[in-house]
Symmetry: C2
């Protein structure tokens, strides 16, 4: 029987709770239905399959936070978006994997890419280069956060060899990488800009 | 009964065959034992658990190819290593996930990082910055290839929305990203270098 009061938002919120408490491997449609005390068919009314659910979660995770308006220039805005996206991803377990998977599936416009791309609107890059610049930052971001989340997970299970990697060390690596990317983009932007006439 | 003729190399090669044909989710110790026609206990003699097996596979995948010696300068060598590592990863399904996971577990010295780091030996960076430069390139590489492999996988299952992403488009994105990173590192290197006295 269809639970008339169950909304799409209810389903997504319950999925985020399971993700937060148990992680992606335990986020099954069956468990989600049990958590909501409905039959699995009530979920499929809102999400035809798990992929569309994960794409919705990716959007929610990524759009939760926005940078302060203070950043100026395309480079400052791109940098600010990168840091805020990392924070947004770190708020949910396995989020880098979820965002990467929904990006790979090509479901809808990816909001993480869209935000990085938007920061580049005022850059001197043409549309193709601006797309690629946003893609570069996104690939670095997902590679970095995915590793960071796996390490946190392994540390919490006592499964890692060697010393725990600290949050400070991850932050230092991330800052270094973002700064290198921005410096490279500035260099490319000045090479692409037509000389003032 | 211990199969006296089964070597560690036999086990790793069989695991790579399963990876190639079926992918990481189907690479279980049980299936591997069946493939080799031995009991699972014969595998544990060589690899105490699946993590150490995956770390060994990551090393084999990453060290399979080396760049031509023609690249000159730390920037040319770093660029060449990045391209060869992408090729090496693309030769095995789910390899980015395997390398990322063994990197996160901290098992042994990671050969992908070691190769990128070695290219930076002749750079003007101090040890900490050279480590971070190699880490930045590796995070970009893993983020990029992981997405590329997921897309190939989804395309082969007919599960992706939108047009197939071509190898050329992935290569263009990868080249753009590597060039931006190298330009950013050159910029940082010239800022770090002491002025000639």
């Amino acid at each position: 029987m269809q639970n008339a009061r169950l909304t799409r938002d209810d389903v997504a919120r319950a999925a985020l709770r399971i993700l937060d408490e148990l992680g992606l491997p335990d986020l099954t449609m069956r468990r989600l239905a049990a958590e909501l005390n409905v039959r699995p068919s009530a979920l499929y009314w809102h999400f035809p399959n798990k992929q569309t659910l994960l794409a919705d979660l990716a959007d929610r995770i990524v759009t939760r936070r926005h940078p302060a308006e203070s950043a100026s220039g395309w480079d400052g805005r791109l940098r600010a978006e990168a840091f805020v996206l990392r924070d947004a991803l770190l708020a949910y377990r396995d989020s880098a994997e979820i965002v990467s998977s929904s990006l790979a599936l090509g479901l809808g416009e990816n909001p993480a890419h869209a935000r990085l791309r938007q920061a580049l609107d005022s850059s001197p890059f043409d549309a193709e280069s601006a797309d690629r610049a946003a893609t570069t930052m996104l690939h670095f971001l997902l590679g970095h956060v995915s590793l960071e989340q796996q390490r946190l997970q392994y540390d919490s299970l006592g499964a890692r060899s060697g010393e725990p990697v600290t949050l400070e060390s991850h932050e230092g690596d991330f800052r270094f990488g973002v700064d290198i990317l921005i410096a490279g983009l500035r260099d490319r932007a000045s090479a692409d800009s037509p000389a003032p006439s």
